[in-house]
Subunit: 305 residues, 2 copies
DNA sequence: CTTCGAGCATAAGCCATCCTTGGAGTGATC
DNA sequence: GATCACTCCAAGGATGGCTTATGCTCGAAG
């Protein structure tokens, strides 16, 4: 008796509906692309599973019992819901819909991200992106906690504290380098390049906490400790302070690009200090179409700076 | 590629919902009464069939992607519709709902049918019966055409025109017999029984067309042709006409029972002329619970007249 | 009245699917 | 560091579904 405890499947309803509309098993089989015995067995199985006849074979024609009518009546709604669900998922899978939650650090979100999102929007108008700003340690945390789908992060070459990204999908985007910012009238303003040590005696203006740590580390590698007079994670402010002659700064090239260099000069730092900018995502998220598409546009945006 | 063209089944949604609510494959398996690999495979199949990941395995916990969320959102409605359908069909199958369409000839619908339907209503309050009146040839026709589920019919013993009921389910209910109706002051009114020939010279009042044919046949069997002065299929009218002394009649016992015998006497006809009263239904309809239950109540009502 | 065609039921066989078991790897917890 | 819980993977076995083939009934046409 426990064997009859089977449950109605969508397939049963599809077959039943076909039988109800066509009026015969054979026609239903043709409509469904299977043979008549398949339909016959399917209906028999459904009838035993619901425990009551659903169809009356009256001579030539096939009629529904009351239970059959009830089932057909429900079937339309159920199958409609099912196709609606398939539609919606297909829309997301086909990039006609769906939202990807992106987290980026500030200098990324002002350069790479806008270009990438513009391209994404052009290619797949249905997709939506939500953007949040966070510096790397936090952004990776957000990713791992499931609060975002895609994180832009960076890592300085030779950095002491190497975050563990082994369990993530890492897509290198581009390699940024630090530039020194000096006031226009500074002696080094016209230099081709500058060694960090040449700025040892200057007052410094530091960027975000992480950049600041990086700055100190680089300076100490060159044998001095920078005298930091100001610290702000607002890049235009840094540029403004340098332009006002209050000190020098080093910033990532990417950060400088989005700020008008009013009264300052950006001089290449030699030897170069580089940071690798990457996009991170969870392995399970990488094949998600919206994520993959966004990632692809970020990579393309990075190729032509 | 054509292989990925599979379609979402209710089973997939059940599993997905269980995973979404429990948060793990193992727990979902326990809830569904199967093993964890079964859940895992089921989800993998669903993901390939919709073409996009639905779940993110993030460390310990299991989260839904956007497509997964969409599917779960639809799933609740779809599965609710499915259980509603099962409920309704089960209600019909379990005699808590459902309507049976009954056709009966007049003398049946005034005696057998009310008793049977009262018992049915008492036993299964949810069931409903629609009753229509039709004489046997027509009622069987209605049955065959699918316009009713159950037909009460009768057949006179030794009748010339034997309808073909071989393809129907025939349930004998009772055997009725004809009685002669004579005015109270008629010489035969006190007789124990009467032979049809004894009424050869009387004016006759005939019933329905079919009863009339039967009457003529019986009389001719006894060697005379009845002089029919009145014909009506209204039994009380027949009784009234006999009571008024306008003639005699023969009626089925069952028909007389539901009419007050005002001024008439019912005398047993000997030799007896009997008719078998049966319930008819289509073979496919017989196992339908509402039909079976109605049939059963009719049989029980027939056993105690 | 017989023949023919259409449709359904059933049986047997094949194939896909599904589920289970057993084992390995991994992250979190004590 | 050991344990527990969870997942994935692989292989085996059972179940179910579909197909072909066959027989039957019914209705229409010759």
């Amino acid at each position: 008796m426990a064997y009859a405890r089977r449950v109605i499947e969508a397939r049963h309803l599809r077959v039943l509906r076909a039988v109800a509309t066509t009026g015969s098993f054979s026609a239903a089989g043709r409509e469904l692309g299977c043979t008549q015995p398949a339909v016959s067995q399917q209906m028999k199985a459904l009838e035993t599973s619901v425990g009551t006849p659903l169809l009356v074979r009256a001579g030539r024609e096939m009629r529904l019992t009351q239970a059959g009518e009830a089932l057909v009546r429900h079937a339309s709604g159920i199958l409609a819901g099912l196709t609606a669900a398939e539609e919606e998922v297909a829309a997301i899978a086909g990039l006609r819909a769906g939202r990807v939650r992106l987290v980026s650090f500030p200098s990324g979100s002002s350069t790479l991200v806008p270009a990438a999102l513009a391209a994404l929007r052009a290619a797949h108008p249905g997709t939506r992106v939500s953007l949040e700003e966070a510096e790397p340690p936090r952004s990776v945390e957000l990713l791992r906690e499931g609060d975002c789908d895609l994180a832009l992060a960076f890592r300085y070459e030779g950095a002491a504290t190497a975050e563990d990204w082994d369990d993530l999908v890492v897509r290198p985007l581009l390699t940024d380098r630090l530039v020194a910012l000096v006031p226009e009238r500074h002696p080094l303003a016209r230099a081709e390049s500058v060694a960090i040590g040449e700025l040892a005696g200057e007052p410094w203006i530091a960027g975000c906490p992480r950049c600041r740590g990086q700055l100190v580390q680089v300076c100490e590698g060159a044998g001095f400790t920078p005298r930091i007079d100001f610290a702000t994670d607002d890049y235009p402010a840094v540029v403004g302070l340098v332009g006002a002659g209050l000190g020098v700064a080093v910033l990532p090239q990417l950060a400088v690009e989005s700020v008008r260099p009013r009264g300052v000069r950006a001089v290449r730092l030699e030897p170069a200090v580089r940071r690798k900018i990457v996009a991170l995502t969870l392995p399970d998220l990488a094949p998600v179409p919206t994520v993959a598409a966004t990632l692809e546009q970020l990579a393309r945006a990075a190729r032509r700076p």
